[in-house]
Structures are given as structure tokens and as C-alpha cells.
């Protein structure tokens, strides 16, 4: 059996919220906006819990890096089946500036302190859309990585058969633990946390760490100069029937007349 699975969970603005850019151009409005666990991280967590339920994994550790509010997503993770949680708590300003490379270095630190055999993260966070953390961690640890994973099956001992989503279809790999997996949408359907499990999650351990405890180089390499709205599109028109739609497209030269 594999030892621990480490799952990275990020607190982000809820996927259904239409974000608004701050008038001062320094970011987006986050106050009084619904936040939740990054959807891809929910999938990564679900997969870790399923591996544990199949007795392939001893325990699941959920890790989040963020302000004190990130405790909410860690409690959700515990309610969904994580055994313990670690919060690396940072202040608001640091949370705004933190780069995926820093997150990967923090995860590397946790990996070196806990007996981790598999790291699962979402393929990307829906706020910064970077799609980097798992890959960066794979470089730091020199572990194999499968990105955009849609299926994980144990092959033999610590070998796993992995299916990835690539641009033209699917790709199959076999990988040896310790390994890193980034979860795609199709990997599984995450469960809901039930009320009894939410209550039980309150008693599960949640460890807090400070950046200063970790001894990580935290110099920034990316400076956000300005955040702006994307260009607005001109309002469109409705057409009455299919003929006038085709006429209009032909007029604009987008569809050739035959």
C-alpha cells in the first residue's frame, strides 16, 4: 500500500461568479464574493479519497496556501474524506502575489516532511488559470508527472496505468510512484460533503504553518502591473429566419455564395 497522498486545494472565487475588475486596476473584486474550492482540486481530492477507499493509500493530506479563510476549503476537504489538513497561512498581500513556483516549493517542503507517495492537484486554478503548479513540483522533486489525467488504475504495486487528455484524443502511460497527477474534469464526479461528515471534519487535525517556518526563498519574479477588463464586444443583432442569417453571412464574406 502507498503511504500518504497529498492533495493541493485552493480557495478561489466560485466558478459561477462573473468577476469584476477593480476600478484601480490592481486586481479583481474579491470582497463579499462567493468563494469555494477550485473545481479541479475537488476532483483531485475525490480521486485521492477513492484511492484510499480502494485501500491503495493509507491517508489523504489536504494542503492549502492562503489567508485564514482558506481553512473553509480545508474543512470541506476533511468533510469529503481527507484525514488531515495543513494550512500555510499568509497575509492578504502575500496571497495576492504568491506565484505557482512558491506554491510548488511549499509543496516540496511538505513532501520532504511527510511520507508522500502521490501528489494530486487540479490541472489548473480557475482564478489565475496558470496550469503550472503540478508541473513545477515535478521538476523540483524530479518525480514523473501525468497532466490532465482522466483515469488512474493500479497496474501492479506502485505502478499505475494512467490516461491523459491530450489535444488530439487520449494518451496512455504507466507511471511509478512516487508520482504527481493533475486532475482533468473527466477524472471523476466529486461527492458532496454530508452533514454528519461536516460535523466530524471539525474534529480532524488542521495544522497551521507559517511561511517563515519553511525556509523557502520567496523572491517574486512576476509583478502585476495592471489588471483590466477584456475588450467589450459590440452588440449583435437578431435575424428572423435562416435565409436572412445566411444572407448576412454571405454579405460579410464569411460564407461563400455557391
Amino acid at each position: 500500500m502507498l503511504r500518504s497522498g497529498l492533495v493541493g486545494v485552493k480557495r478561489v472565487i466560485d466558478y459561477a461568479v462573473k468577476v469584476r475588475v477593480r476600478p484601480d486596476g490592481k486586481g479583481v473584486i474579491k470582497e463579499n464574493v462567493q468563494h469555494s474550492m477550485n473545481p479541479f482540486d475537488e476532483i483531485a481530492l475525490e480521486e485521492a479519497v477513492r484511492l484510499k477507499e480502494k485501500k491503495l493509500l493509507q491517508q489523504v493530506i489536504a494542503l492549502s496556501i492562503g489567508t485564514a479563510k482558506s481553512q473553509e476549503v480545508l474543512r470541506t476537504a476533511l468533510a469529503k474524506g481527507a484525514d488531515k489538513a495543513i494550512l500555510v497561512e499568509v497575509d492578504n498581500e502575500t496571497a495576492e502575489r504568491i506565484e505557482p513556483l512558491h506554491v510548488a516549493k511549499i509543496m516540496q517542503h511538505v513532501v520532504s516532511n511527510e511520507a508522500i507517495d502521490v501528489v494530486l492537484v487540479g490541472k489548473q486554478a480557475i482564478d489565475d488559470d496558470s496550469c503550472q503548479t503540478g508541473q513545477l513540483l515535478s521538476g523540483l522533486l524530479d518525480w514523473p508527472i501525468a497532466t490532465f489525467v482522466s483515469n488512474i488504475q493500479q497496474a501492479d504495486g506502485n505502478m499505475f496505468n494512467i490516461t491523459r487528455e491530450i489535444d488530439g484524443g487520449l494518451e496512455m502511460l504507466t507511471m511509478k510512484c512516487p508520482m504527481i497527477v493533475t486532475a482533468d474534469l473527466r477524472l471523476n464526479e466529486p461527492r458532496y460533503a454530508t452533514l454528519p461528515n461536516i460535523m466530524k471534519a471539525k474534529k480532524k487535525p488542521l495544522q497551521k504553518l507559517k511561511l517563515s517556518d519553511l525556509g523557502i526563498d520567496f523572491s517574486y519574479q512576476t509583478q502585476i502591473l495592471q489588471v483590466s477588463e477584456p475588450p467589450k464586444r459590440k452588440a449583435g443583432t437578431f435575424v428572423e429566419d435562416v435565409q436572412s442569417l445566411i444572407m448576412k453571412l454571405k454579405e460579410s464574406g464569411l460564407v461563400m455564395s455557391k
Binding site: 479541479f40 477588463e229 442569417l245 453571412l249
Partner: protein
């Protein structure tokens, strides 16, 4: 003492095509290909890279030399590095990382870039970590050699960032840059690659064996590639069934269009995953995008809102898709 790990030697070749025109800044483009032909996203990436400095292209694979010959003819390309080895056939990021690092050690590029595809997104950050660099994903605009714009929040915010990283490691959004021309580049004017090959990179470590490539299941289609199609017809949940998607294919064939889908259509099993357009699927920006039976969730809009003209066909006149369209037709789909 020699290392116990086998160090695999591969042939790496270089051709300097126009030595007179070498600027200080240099950029390495990692070519994406399927071992028989160059992927068109590499051409968009070369255009973006040419704004940063002299363009070198690394072609790694089992048939890299063949691909490299195509690359030498592409405009902006100053030199081509070739890493050919059977082990590089699947172009796994674990092995490619070592090839890129070997190239970087030798040539000291100012930037290492790739297209923001599944391939580029998997590779660039792994290399970046080895170089202790923070990468930039999905760049859509280059303001200067260190200042770039990239979308966040499913394209609802554009972030202008300055990178102080010693080496810029970037993936470029293909639809934001025109493709470099396949012919008439500076490479074609010279004798071509075959006469000017010489080995420069002696070796790279290809011994990483904790991952094995098993195979691929590619979606076969005679239609234009989704990312580069001039016209895209997409279907959503409203199409109703996998059988009904035939209507979408028929229309696409009349228009010589690529076919896309919303997540709902993929989840319902109407079409395979690789047809998904959106924040987490493919980003397209065709001349004409026709959305049929698609409500227009934030996540779908993120993948197509830069299309020149968007047509929506939807029976729900309040569907959010109508907020971004140019022409729309409320049509009952049954």
C-alpha cells in the same frame, strides 16, 4: 568514476542560417509535432518568439531530423537544434526537460517558449522549476522583452505582468499570434539544413524510466483542426443526442469547418473530450463561430469569445450566449 546510470548519447545538430543577423536576445522555441509533421501551433509560437529575439527551434523526437527540415524553411527561424532518439518518440516531458536543459546550458537563451497546448503546458513549467524560474502561461500580448499580457478568470480579466525572471519561460496562446509562413524564410535562402549540419550538443540524460508511454487513442477526423480552422461549428446540450450531432457535422462539412462542443455535450457523451471548447478545453478564434444549442456559460465563452463573428442559434432568447454574438437566430432545435 563513471556514473552507474546510463547516459544516453543523442545526436543534436545545429545549423546557423544567417550569422550576420544575430541580435543579443535569443529565444528557444520547443517545436510541437507528431513525429511526422510539425504542429501548426509551433508556427504561431515562432511569430511570438520572433518579437523577443533571434529564434532557435528545438526539435526532439524519434524522427526529429525530418521535422527539422520543415522548420528550417519557416520564416524568422535562425537555427534549428535537433535531438533525435527512439526514447524521445512520445516526447515525454521528463525526458524532454533534460534535452531542453542541455540546450540551455550550451546556448544560454534569454527565453524558452512553447505553444500553450497540452504539450507546452506540460513541459515548460517542469523545465522552469529546474531553472528556478516562474513561468508565464498563455501569453496573448508582448509589450516588451519582460512585459506581457495574459488572461485570468476565464478571460474576464487581462493581467499585464512584468517578469524579472532571469530566463523568460512562456507558453503563448496560439490564436493571439498569426502563424509564421512555412516558406520563404531565411532558411530557404541558404543551402538548407542537410549541408550545414554539425553536432554541437554532445549528450543529454535520457535515463529517466519512471514513466512509460503506452499508446494513444486519437480522434480521427478529416475536418480542419479545431485550433486553426477558419470556421468552427459547435454544438451543446441543446443538440440533444450523439445522433443529432450529425446535423452539426453536415453543416460543418458544407462550410469546411472544424467541429467543437460545449462541456455539456461532452459530458452527455455526444462527442469526445478533445472537441471541448472553453476555459479548460481548446481556445479558438476563427473568423466565424457558430454556437448551436449552447447557452454560453462563462467557461465556454472563455474559449471562443475572440472569434471574429459569432453566430448563436438558440431557442432561449435570454441565453447568455446572445450577449457576445454578432448575429443570432432563435431557432427551435428538436
Amino acid at each position: 568514476m563513471l556514473s552507474a546510470r546510463p547516459v544516453f548519447r543523442f545526436v543534436s545538430q545545429i545549423t546557423a542560417i544567417r550569422r550576420s543577423d544575430i541580435r543579443f536576445a535569443s529565444t528557444l522555441v520547443i517545436a510541437e509535432h507528431d513525429d511526422t509533421k510539425l504542429n501548426s501551433i509551433t508556427l504561431n509560437t515562432i511569430t511570438a518568439a520572433s518579437k523577443l529575439g533571434d529564434v532557435s527551434v528545438l526539435v526532439a523526437g524519434a524522427n526529429a531530423k525530418k521535422i527539422a527540415e520543415q522548420v528550417t524553411k519557416v520564416e524568422h527561424v535562425k537555427r534549428v537544434l535537433v535531438a533525435q532518439d527512439e526514447k524521445l518518440k512520445a516526447q515525454l516531458p521528463e525526458l524532454l526537460t533534460n534535452v531542453v536543459l542541455a540546450s540551455q546550458n550550451q546556448f544560454k537563451f534569454n527565453a524558452i517558449v512553447a505553444g500553450a497546448s497540452a504539450f507546452g503546458r506540460s513541459l515548460i513549467p517542469r523545465v522552469a522549476a529546474k531553472l528556478d524560474v516562474s513561468p508565464l502561461s498563455d501569453v496573448i500580448e508582448i509589450h516588451s522583452e519582460d512585459t506581457f499580457s495574459r488572461p485570468m478568470y476565464a478571460g474576464n480579466a487581462i493581467s499585464k505582468v512584468k517578469s524579472t525572471a532571469p530566463i523568460k519561460m512562456i507558453t503563448f496562446r496560439s490564436t493571439a499570434f498569426p502563424p509564421a509562413k512555412l516558406e520563404g524564410g531565411s532558411g530557404a535562402a541558404e543551402d538548407g539544413i542537410s549541408s550545414s549540419y554539425h553536432i554541437l550538443t554532445p549528450s543529454s540524460d535520457l535515463s529517466f524510466d519512471k514513466v512509460k508511454f503506452v499508446g494513444q487513442e486519437l480522434t480521427k477526423s478529416s475536418r480542419p483542426e479545431l485550433n486553426s480552422a477558419k470556421v468552427v461549428v459547435s454544438g451543446g446540450r441543446g443538440v440533444g443526442s450523439a445522433e443529432n450531432f450529425k446535423i452539426i457535422y453536415d453543416l460543418a462539412d458544407k462550410l469546411n469547418a472544424g467541429v467543437g462542443a460545449s462541456r455539456a455535450a461532452v459530458d452527455a457523451g455526444y462527442v469526445p473530450n478533445d472537441m471541448q471548447v472553453g476555459q479548460t478545453g481548446k481556445i479558438v478564434a476563427p473568423e466565424l463561430y457558430i454556437a448551436i444549442g449552447i447557452s454560453g456559460a462563462i467557461q465556454h465563452i472563455a474559449g471562443m469569445k475572440d472569434s471574429k463573428v459569432i453566430v448563436a442559434i438558440n431557442k432561449d432568447a435570454d441565453a447568455p450566449i446572445f450577449q457576445v454574438v454578432f448575429i443570432s437566430h432563435p431557432l427551435l432545435l428538436k
